[in-house]
């Protein structure tokens, strides 16, 4: 029996994430208790808002060590949006912050539009996920993207993005304005996803279903 837990650290709307899992037939629990997290078969680290706030809330709730311990257990962990960014080594959001350092890499701000650019920051809307350029591209088989079309549109809502240090950790990339960034990263049992699968229509629900079955 799977025991999937959404980590509640008081940032963001967990209800829609939970409902999205329910719509694909998966019951999930929501908890802020380190014991529940360590006992889970998989966890989801969601989150919206600022990096510094996110880290602060995790610290206040004593969740940093349990999250790192869970990550090293080999059980599936999915970070979504800010939850993905928190997995990284550092962030440049309003200062310099240390992240959970579960996957090597950094979080940077999307380049502001210059003269003649028509894009805006934050990115709010649908964008496609692409296999990595200039390399053979990692296979999506057996990952959360199993069965998802390449170039599928997902719903993004962010001003900051992730650059994974090791390109082998990049499962999908996305182009926005002047930036090309990691929209899905994966290292062993850890997956991070910049967009919101729970708001990305049927393609997004497929990702959640895949995760529940990992």
């Amino acid at each position: 029996m799977k025991n999937i837990v959404i980590v509640d650290y008081n940032l963001g709307n967990l209800f829609n994430l939970r409902r999205a899992f329910e719509s694909v037939g998966t019951q999930v629990a929501v908890s802020a208790d380190p014991e529940d997290i360590l006992a889970a078969s998989s966890i989801i680290l969601p989150g919206v808002g600022a990096f510094g706030e996110g880290i602060k809330h995790l610290k206040e709730r004593g969740l940093i060590a349990p999250l790192k311990e869970f990550a090293s257990s080999g059980k599936p962990l999915l970070g979504i949006c800010l939850g993905m960014q928190l997995l990284m080594t550092t962030s440049e959001e309003h200062g310099t912050w240390e992240g959970l350092d579960i996957i090597k890499g950094m979080v940077k701000r999307l380049d502001p539009p210059g003269d003649g650019d028509i894009y805006k920051v934050p990115q709010v809307g649908w964008n496609s996920i692409l296999k990595q350029f200039n390399s053979r591209g990692l296979s999506w088989n057996g990952t959360v993207l199993d069965g998802v079309d390449e170039k599928a549109y997902m719903y993004f809502l962010h001003s900051y993005y992730v650059i994974a240090s090791d390109t082998r950790d990049i499962l999908a990339e996305t182009i926005y304005g002047r930036n090309r960034f990691s929209s899905i990263i994966k290292k062993n049992n850890i997956t991070g996803c910049q967009f919101h699968p729970e708001r990305s229509g049927e393609a997004g629900l497929k990702i959640l279903k895949n995760f529940a079955e990992l």
């Binding site: 808002g49 502001p112 805006k120």
Partner: protein
């Protein structure tokens, strides 16, 4: 291959019903909001806006039940507007299942509500709704209370101000164009989208499928919201100017308990003529592709 422009359906809601008027007046009932919301999701809409049509007047948003039902079935972003005046109002709406709230009257009365809300919930879920009325000398006034009250604010300056307060997007509605089906106010959209660095959703005036492409290409909007062209497409049988109550699919729901139900009873005709040329979500998106605009199809 990059980011797609958003096609948004705007649902104006009174009680359980989806309603539609012209310039925020003369509303007719078209069916239930919940069923339209779900249908639009299945038809490929990129986002939904639920506007409580009477909330601002009664100083409360009454959509919580409809939001909850929608959130069970709809997995694209939902923005809720109408009657939002406190942080607690926002919290309730987000908890019910909305992703963002759009605030007009509450922000004009108390601009600090926007900055406070941004601090508590993040800019990504706070949208400034601006309802602008064009006056003779090419200026635009901000109106509040669902197009009922004039304020002394200049819409262009107000847009700049709300950006400074930290909101993540602007939902820009032209009151003059709203429900007229004569196209968006391109000038208004352009003036605001060119001075703010946050996304602008153009709203009000879509009468044909190509109006959405126009406001994206010429108005600089990042998203286009439309109501009538979608509502009348899905609520009306094609090639049939009249309809009757017995046709279940026209009703789009059960709860026709208030408001002007003439349209549902008698369809178009005479003064009830439809101001728009209805189109499906797919037809709108195909028109955008033809015009070189990337969309999610």
């Amino acid at each position: 291959m990059g980011h797609a422009v958003r096609v948004i359906a705007r649902l104006d809601i009174k009680g359980p019903n989806l309603i539609k008027g012209v310039q925020f007046d003369g509303h007719r009932v078209l069916g239930t909001a919940e069923q339209f919301g779900e249908l639009y999701y299945r038809e490929g809409i990129d986002e939904l806006i639920y506007q409580d049509a009477v909330a601002s007047l009664y100083r409360r948003n009454s959509l919580l039940e409809i939001i909850k039902k929608t959130a069970m079935k709809v997995f694209v972003p939902l923005t809720v507007a109408g009657g939002i005046r406190t942080i607690e109002d926002i919290r309730q709406i987000l908890r019910a299942g909305a992703d963002k709230v759009a605030i007009n009257t509450g922000a004009v009365e108390n601009p600090a509500l926007l900055s406070e809300a941004v601090k508590v919930f993040g800019s990504q879920c706070i949208v400034s709704s601006i309802e602008a009325f064009r006056i003779s000398d090419g200026k635009y006034q901000v109106w509040v209370d669902y197009g009922r009250e004039v304020t002394g604010l200049d819409a262009i300056e107000w847009a700049k101000q709300v950006e400074g307060l930290g909101v993540g997007e602007i939902l820009l509605t032209s009151i003059n164009s709203e429900g007229m089906g004569e196209g968006y106010d391109i000038e208004l959209t352009n003036r605001i989208s060119s001075i703010v660095s946050i996304p602008v959703i153009a709203s009000g005036g879509a009468g044909t499928k190509s109006d959405l492409s126009k406001v994206i290409r010429n108005g600089g909007a990042q998203a286009a919201a439309a109501a009538s062209i979608f509502h009348y497409n899905y609520a009306t049988p094609v090639n049939k100017p009249f309809m009757s109550f017995s046709e279940a699919r026209l009703r789009m729901g059960e709860h026709i308990d208030s408001g002007n139900v003439d349209f549902l009873n008698h369809g178009y005709g005479g003064e009830r003529a439809c101001t728009v040329k209805p189109a499906s979500i797919r037809e709108v998106k195909e028109d955008m592709v033809k015009n070189g605009i990337e969309v999610r199809i």
